[in-house]
């Protein structure tokens, strides 16, 4: 096995182009499990940890540009205002040691339907930046996940960054697991309200072969939500939203939970996320008035 340690992005892209089947490694929290258990023997490992650009974050127009290799700990510490849903999700990832190493780029590269970062990226309409020796391109998260563990990324491309839109309203994340730490989600849900465009975003994890949205639920809530903020959503509205979110799930039974439980929990999380968001939204409206 060859081990490559590029120190610039240019070198990294050349390495990936020369070894399209090479496996990029950053925090190692997924890749090393496969190596330790002999599940994978890649011909080449490409260590991206020495590429400075991947570990940086900053403002890019009205987006926050998050380098694909920024560990979850940094997201929790620094991005709770500029990316609330992703920061909340990051806080639930595994354990402190794993959050010190794992990153959104790894979640996107592996594209497990259970990855904690996916629901917030879908809900907030984030954009994924891919790069290769051919150039850079941007793909909306909503078009990134194609089928089970398959994404829009080409073999010679690396995931370089995620562009997170400036929040324009409450953002929530909820996740079901057997304990608070070290949990691969049984089901996860993220909700983002955009008060300016008066739109709603959703993201659902662990309930289909890929992370998915609940588009009918988004449209329903965008039309029914009291954007003036005078009233809290009625019980029937909240219940209907939960039903619409749960209706798009296509879960499986596995050792973490049954399909039925996953669908049920999705409705519960959607109702809760809406109630939290509406309460937060009203507070915001009252403060501004």
């Amino acid at each position: 096995m060859e081990f490559l340690s590029p120190s610039t992005l240019e070198e990294a892209l050349e390495a990936k182009s020369a070894h399209p089947d090479g496996v990029p490694i950053m925090g190692g929290t997924d890749v090393m499990v496969e190596l330790n258990f002999d599940k994978r023997r890649p011909s080449t490992l490409i260590d991206l940890a020495r590429v400075p650009e991947l570990g940086e974050w900053g403002t890019d127009g009205d987006h926050t540009r998050l380098g694909a290799g920024v560990p979850y700990t940094k997201i929790v510490e620094h991005l709770s205002r500029s990316a609330p849903a992703l920061a909340k999700a990051s806080r639930t990832v595994a354990s402190p040691q794993i959050r010190n190493r794992g990153s959104v780029g790894g979640n996107l590269g592996g594209a497990s339907p259970a990855g904690d970062a996916h629901p917030p990226l879908l809900a907030t309409d984030a954009v994924i930046e891919l790069a290769s020796v051919r150039g850079r391109r941007r793909v909306p998260a909503r078009e990134f996940y194609l089928s089970l563990r398959t994404t829009a990324r080409q073999d010679d491309e690396l995931i370089t960054a995620v562009l997170l839109p400036e929040p324009k309203g409450p953002q929530q994340f909820a996740k079901i697991g057997t304990r608070n730490a070290m949990v691969i989600s049984v089901a996860a849900f993220s909700l983002a309200l955009d008060a300016e465009k008066r739109t709603v975003g959703t993201g659902l994890g662990s309930v289909a072969p890929t992370p998915i949205r609940a588009e009918e639920a988004e449209e329903f809530l965008a039309a029914e939500f009291d954007w003036e903020g005078a009233t809290l959503p009625s019980e029937s509205l909240v219940r209907r939203f939960g039903e619409l979110v749960a209706s798009v799930t296509r879960p499986i039974d596995d050792q973490r939970g049954t399909a039925q439980y996953r669908t049920h929990s999705m409705a519960v999380m959607a109702r809760r996320a809406l109630t939290w968001s509406a309460t937060e939204y009203r507070k915001g409206v009252t403060r501004c008035a």
Binding site: G28, T29, L35, S95, Q97, A181
Partner: protein, 172 residues
């Protein structure tokens, strides 16, 4: 491949390393530092926790090649005056674990010691006061003790935090 890594302040070289093996394997099998324990090899248990460039990480999830030129601090580096065997003076956290009876089979202990050391560094050491129980539980959530001796472990962390705060105050 050859891997040069600074471990506990000492520059070390491991030869004939397979690039896909873990830093944990390098430490234990090639550098003669068996303090970090190999239990789950998938980041679940925290027994192999080390400082990697100052940040705690599971050494089973770091590829050997990634450690080239980096600084690692293992449980062997926590002693305040590193020496051999019984001549070694233990650090505050280690002493507290012994006194509180927080060591049963001992397999999880090295990881807990490093993670606790980091917690105290970020709290008491940063002038923020002793961590409360919620902070302790959160910090140690990735370290499993299969003897389930968690109450004594929490006692030990509280004891170490208190002592560390006192010694900090005494220095001022």
């Amino acid at each position: 491949m050859r891997v040069n890594v600074n471990v506990n302040g000492e520059d070390m070289t491991a030869e004939n390393v397979w690039p896909g093996e873990s830093l944990l394997y390098v430490l234990r099998e090639r550098l003669g530092l068996p303090g970090s324990k190999n239990a789950c090899e998938q980041g679940e248990c925290g027994s192999c926790t080390v400082y990697f460039d100052g940040v705690t990480a599971c050494s089973c999830m770091i590829a050997a090649g990634q450690a080239e030129g980096r600084a690692v601090r293992t449980v062997e580096g926590l002693a305040e005056e590193p020496g051999k065997g019984s001549d070694r003076t233990l650090g505050t956290v280690q002493d507290a674990f012994v006194e509180a009876g927080a060591v049963q089979c001992g397999f999880c202990t090295p990881g807990l010691l490093v993670q606790t050391d980091d917690l105290l560094e970020r709290t008491v050491g940063a002038g923020k006061g002793a961590p409360d129980d919620a902070e302790i539980r959160e910090a140690l959530a990735g370290n499993l003790c299969r003897c389930t001796g968690y109450e004594k472990i929490l006692d030990a962390v509280r004891l170490a935090a208190g002592r560390r705060a006192e010694s900090g105050a005494a220095h001022e």
